[in-house]
């Protein structure tokens, strides 16, 4: 039986999303489709799959991504679906441990991709916030307060990601 769950995760909390998906899979609910804040689950054997999420380097339709997903499939990983730049993968737990990254450098590169997106969004939001905040109508006030919240969230997200990158870089001084 299939059913849909609506839930929103911020880009910088993707690890929590992964954790949640794996908890669902432990209960026997496997992710089969994704959309904007939408997760489609299907009932199955508990703990059959392990899930991972990745922020891709190129669009899902880009040939580079197609060849990447094909490469992963050769190693026994299944591509559940993608939404925007997020790709959802699963692998049977019986086929061994599933990880997308096994060294510090590739983890840093992955975090940097997410950080770069936030860095690009940031000035846009600030500009829109400033334009709305300097004019005085109710509509503008609404816009600017909404944007204000968004800016605070993005800032928190960026700091979170940067702290993670910093930690990994520190680790890298000692070992690979």
């Amino acid at each position: 039986m299939r059913f849909t769950v609506h839930k929103i995760y911020w880009a910088w909390n993707f690890e929590e999303e992964e954790k949640w998906l794996n908890e669902m899979s432990a209960k026997g609910l496997n992710l089969v489709g994704v959309g904007f804040g939408k997760f489609v689950f299907e009932e199955g054997t508990p703990g059959e799959y392990h899930f991972h999420i990745e922020w891709l380097k190129h669009f899902p339709s880009h040939p580079e991504t197609v060849s990447y997903i094909h490469f992963l499939e050769e190693t026994g990983v299944e591509h559940v679906g993608s939404f925007k730049m997020w790709a959802y993968f699963r692998k049977k737990t019986s086929d061994g441990v599933f990880d997308l990254f096994s060294d510090i450098d590739s983890r840093i590169i992955h975090y940097k991709r997410i950080r770069n997106l936030l860095l690009c969004l940031f000035p846009l939001e600030i500009l829109a916030f400033w334009i709305n905040a300097t004019s005085s109508s109710i509509a503008n006030f609404g816009c600017s307060s909404f944007l204000g919240i968004l800016i605070i969230l993005i800032t928190i997200g960026m700091i979170k990601i940067m702290v993670k990158i910093k930690h990994l870089k520190k680790e890298r001084i000692l070992h690979e």
Binding site: F71, D103, H110, C120, E125, S135, S136, E176
Partner: protein
């Protein structure tokens, strides 16, 4: 009269800024939701500075990938071979391996073999540059090992 015009001008201006602000808000929302353009700008991974070849230290993963590719092999084969070579100690994750293969291809340390018609799997092989890097690494590892044994004593 002048005051009146000035007043009219400012109210008109206010309306304009309101409009511009709202427009910007919607534009911004649109870009936030359809982040494709921004994604495209941000998609380029920052690559580290070029490292001088003579002073290179290979990562464990790259060292074992290069060793594996003395025979031609496809991606999954490399993963299995590395695990076998290190008796299960080094486990390469698929994403990391994919990144490493692409970097090695860019550096011309390995090359992709022309694909056979009936097989969809791409195979790779080490190049002479790659062999040179491996030889240098072996020399470096030997030095590390000898110094370690000299000071700590052979195990």
């Amino acid at each position: 009269m002048v005051l009146k015009i000035a007043e009219r001008f400012t109210t008109k201006n206010k309306k304009q800024t309101t409009l511009v602000g709202c427009l910007f808000f919607y534009l911004n929302l649109l870009t936030t939701i359809f982040v494709d353009v921004i994604i495209h700008i941000s998609a380029n991974d920052t690559t580290e500075d070029d490292i001088v070849v003579e002073n290179i230290v290979l990562t464990e993963a790259v060292y074992y990938i290069l060793l594996s590719l003395f025979e031609h092999m496809h991606g999954y084969g490399i993963m299995q071979n590395v695990e076998k070579l290190s008796s299960g100690r080094v486990r390469l994750a698929a994403g990391t391996l994919y990144g490493a293969i692409n970097t090695l291809l860019e550096k011309h340390w390995i090359e992709a073999l022309p694909e056979e018609k009936n097989s969809r799997k791409k195979e790779y092989m080490i190049t002479s540059d790659g062999k040179e890097a491996v030889n240098y690494e072996i020399k470096r590892l030997r030095e590390l090992l000898e110094n370690g044994e000299k000071i700590v004593g052979g195990v």
